[in-house]
């Protein structure tokens, strides 16, 4: 009986499978000297499928941020993309449609320059991770801070690899019923880049056929999704370019839906009617002038 109770007690008090998402920071290289570049990856481990992440990366004064990029990230859609500012904090907030479960999922990357010898520390604070359960249930979050020592002498540091691959191909979709854009037609788009990360998007609208664009080149302007179409009559092709930090470009085209706009069609019809009337008048005069 005692054995049974002991066994039962053991079974009942056995730790259940603890579910938690863990933010981990990983530095490359590990051996850093003053003046060196160091790359820090913000990673997530989660056995439970999760689909939304947010938090703030904070870092000490011994590190100077160079860039924050989502290159090769598992997060395709950002509410708050990671970006450096004058404050020593990098907030981030993004979602993964369909969810993520796995180890060392890369959320984003920060490139630092080690300012001076001493201790460097980086941490994720206010971390929030939500489950992919259709309810947005918060997952328990563990954040592992990263500390390393910066040596007096430079050690070579991190060398950013050359990125010659453009962002991933993407499609452009039109929205036509949004009260958010006062009824205007707009385009939505998003893509990822597996190398240096998407830097920005650019847009150009043109009715010039492709074979004539060498004489009348497209004029691109920086934009973001959603983009309210300038040509609401949809007679122009809309060219969207995703440009990564290395300058590689991936282009997507939203083709024109109509050859002519309704005002143009109206004017054309009026001209045709006028020409027809003129023709009739001329013919009548010619016949009436006959003896």
């Amino acid at each position: 009986m005692r054995n049974f109770l002991l066994t039962s007690f053991f079974v009942l008090t056995m730790p259940l499978s603890a579910s938690a998402a863990t933010f981990t920071l990983s530095a490359t290289p590990q051996d850093v000297g003053a003046g060196d570049l160091v790359r820090v990856d913000v990673l997530i481990d989660s056995i439970t499928p999760v689909n939304a992440f947010s938090g703030i990366v904070t870092y000490g004064a011994s590190l100077a941020p160079i860039s924050a990029t989502d290159g090769n990230s598992i997060v395709p859609l950002w509410l708050t993309p990671p970006a450096i500012s004058s404050a020593p904090r990098i907030p981030f907030e993004g979602i993964v449609p369909g969810g993520f479960s796995g180890m060392r999922g890369q959320i984003f990357t920060i490139l630092f320059r080690a300012r001076a010898a001493g201790k460097a520390s980086i941490a994720v604070s206010e971390g929030e991770v939500l489950r992919n359960d259709g309810k947005g249930t918060p997952e328990i979050v563990i954040s592992n801070p990263l500390t390393f020592t910066i040596a007096k002498e430079a050690r070579g540091g991190y060398a950013e690899p050359a990125d010659t691959t453009p962002p991933e191909p993407f499609s452009v979709t039109m929205g036509n019923d949004a009260s958010e854009t006062a009824g205007s037609l707009y385009l939505v788009f998003a893509t990822t880049d597996k190398g240096s990360g998407v830097d920005h998007y650019a847009v150009a609208e043109s009715r010039v056929p492709v074979f004539l664009q060498r004489f009348l080149p497209l004029s691109f302007a920086t934009t973001e999704s959603p983009y309210v179409m300038r040509d609401q009559h949809r007679t122009s092709a809309v060219y969207i370019e995703a440009v990564d930090r290395a300058g590689n470009v991936q282009r997507a085209v939203f083709p024109p839906q109509y050859i002519l706009s309704w005002p143009e069609v109206t004017v054309l019809l009026l001209i045709l009617i006028a020409v027809a009337l003129l023709f009739v008048v001329v013919i009548r005069r010619r016949y009436s002038s006959l003896p």
Binding site: S8, V11, T28, L77, M103
Partner: protein
């Protein structure tokens, strides 16, 4: 004496319930009639409580919980989903990753082991890798096909799930690169999925089972990249080429002949330049629907859907006492269960299903909601605006994300009220999480 009587009463109360839901089990070679359920094998779980084995020897009030569910019955047994494994050939190695084997009703995965063989079907030599979802098989011979499976183990080391087999061909070490100045940095503690030099293209093959003649949609990083039709046996395969090397989240879902969609199955994959990654054993969860949105208590409710042919389909009905129902799909994958709603309490309920065939178990699919009330209401053929479908176009995609992003942290009005998916009068990360869980691309 009083304690003994109380124990007897408690046991009688506990073990009276299962008989109400026990079913006869038959096969071509045996038949079990009126199964008698013992204490062992009965698993009681809640979010913060787990009881394994008998509870008869405990005194009153030693087992308490704020929320408690007791799942007893002949079909209430623990299970675990089958992991989906991906393999990519690397230099004298193979990179492996897999989805988590998710346990229920007492099972939880404590560790995994990798089986490796040069012969398809084994025998495999196994090595334990711990409770992780990726591993690398190293010291492999280049250009030799290797076959891998992954096994999930419980805390006692027992195998509770085995994936299907996947193959990979390790590549030979490349010739030394030309001398270059500078340093690529030490490997150190960094890494993750990052590919240090982004050159060349990769390809990936996906295969598994859905429903006969159904449409299977594949998403890459949340965008639809392919839709294919499954064959008459519900098997499908999709090949993608000219992909960049790097991290991807691939997701698949199926759509049956009635337009009902399965839950989405996602897996992170790290593609390597010049290598092909094979992802096998994908088992798309069944679709599910009911003939009524609301059923008069005591009337029958028909629960139906589609899965792989000849699958054992387990349907769970979320109720005060969770019901586990068993059905079997026919040759076209259709399954049906007629539920007597008399035992269900009035109010909202939901049902979801999973399937098992050929030793593989799918994950649970999306849940269908229904109500038990005082009159029956037939379910409409198609419900146009599903959860997250803010523009009511039958999809949850970038347009809906864009609409929700507009209302992010803004005072709500008009369609912003619909963007507040959890009805907490604000659009925040939780609403985006719900949107992401219902994503269709």
């Amino acid at each position: 004496m009083r304690t003994k009587r109380a124990l007897v009463l408690a046991l009688a109360a506990l073990f009276a319930a299962p008989h109400a839901f026990a079913q006869d089990a038959t096969s071509s070679s045996y038949q079990i009639l009126t199964p008698t359920l013992g204490a062992s094998g009965a698993y009681a779980t809640s979010t913060n409580y787990s009881l394994l084995g008998t509870i008869g020897e405990f005194a009153n009030s030693t087992a308490t919980s704020s929320s408690f569910g007791l799942n007893l019955g002949f079909v209430a047994f623990p299970w675990v989903t089958t992991p989906v494994i991906a393999a990519t050939g690397a230099t004298n190695a193979a990179s492996l990753s897999w989805t988590a084997a998710v346990g229920a009703l007492g099972y939880s995965t404590a560790s995994y082991s990798i089986g490796q063989s040069t012969t398809s079907g084994g025998p495999y030599s196994f090595s334990s890798v711990g409770n992780v979802l990726s591993a690398t098989a190293s010291s492999l011979t280049a250009n030799q096909t290797y076959y891998f499976i992954v096994r999930a183990h419980d805390s006692y080391g027992l195998t509770i799930a085995t994936s299907s087999e996947v193959s990979a061909v390790p590549t030979a070490a490349a010739a030394p690169p030309p001398t270059q100045s500078g340093s690529l940095g030490g490997g150190g503690i960094g890494g993750g999925f990052f590919s240090p030099v982004v050159t060349g293209t990769a390809s990936a093959n996906f295969s598994g089972r859905a429903y006969p003649r159904s449409t299977v949609t594949l998403l890459k990083d949340a965008q639809v990249v392919s839709s294919v039709a499954a064959d008459a046996n519900a098997m499908f395969s999709i090949s993608l080429s000219n992909l960049s090397a790097g991290n991807f989240i691939f997701s698949v879902y199926g759509e049956d002949g009635s337009g009902n969609r399965s839950g989405m199955l996602s897996f992170p994959v790290s593609l390597t330049a010049g290598a092909t990654t094979n992802i096998t054993g994908i088992f798309i969860s069944p679709t599910i629907s009911t003939d009524k949105e609301q059923v008069k208590r005591g009337d029958n409710l028909v629960i139906f859907g589609q899965s792989a042919p000849q699958s054992s389909v387990t349907i769970t009905v979320n109720s005060d006492t969770e019901l586990f129902l068993q059905s079997k799909s026919d040759s076209i994958g259709a399954y049906l269960y007629t539920l007597d709603t008399a035992p269900l309490e009035l109010g909202s309920h939901s049902a979801k299903s999973k399937a098992a065939v050929a030793g593989e178990i799918s994950e649970f699919g999306q849940a269908v909601d229904f109500a038990v009330g005082t009159e029956s209401i037939t379910r409409q053929a198609t419900k146009k605006c599903g959860i997250g479908d803010l523009n009511c176009d039958g999809k949850v995609n970038l347009i809906d994300y864009s609409i929700m992003a507009y209302w992010y942290h803004r005072p709500l009005s008009g369609r912003g009220v619909r963007a507040d998916l959890n009805k907490d009068v604000k659009v925040n990360l939780t609403d985006f999480s719900i949107l992401a869980a219902h994503w269709t691309g």
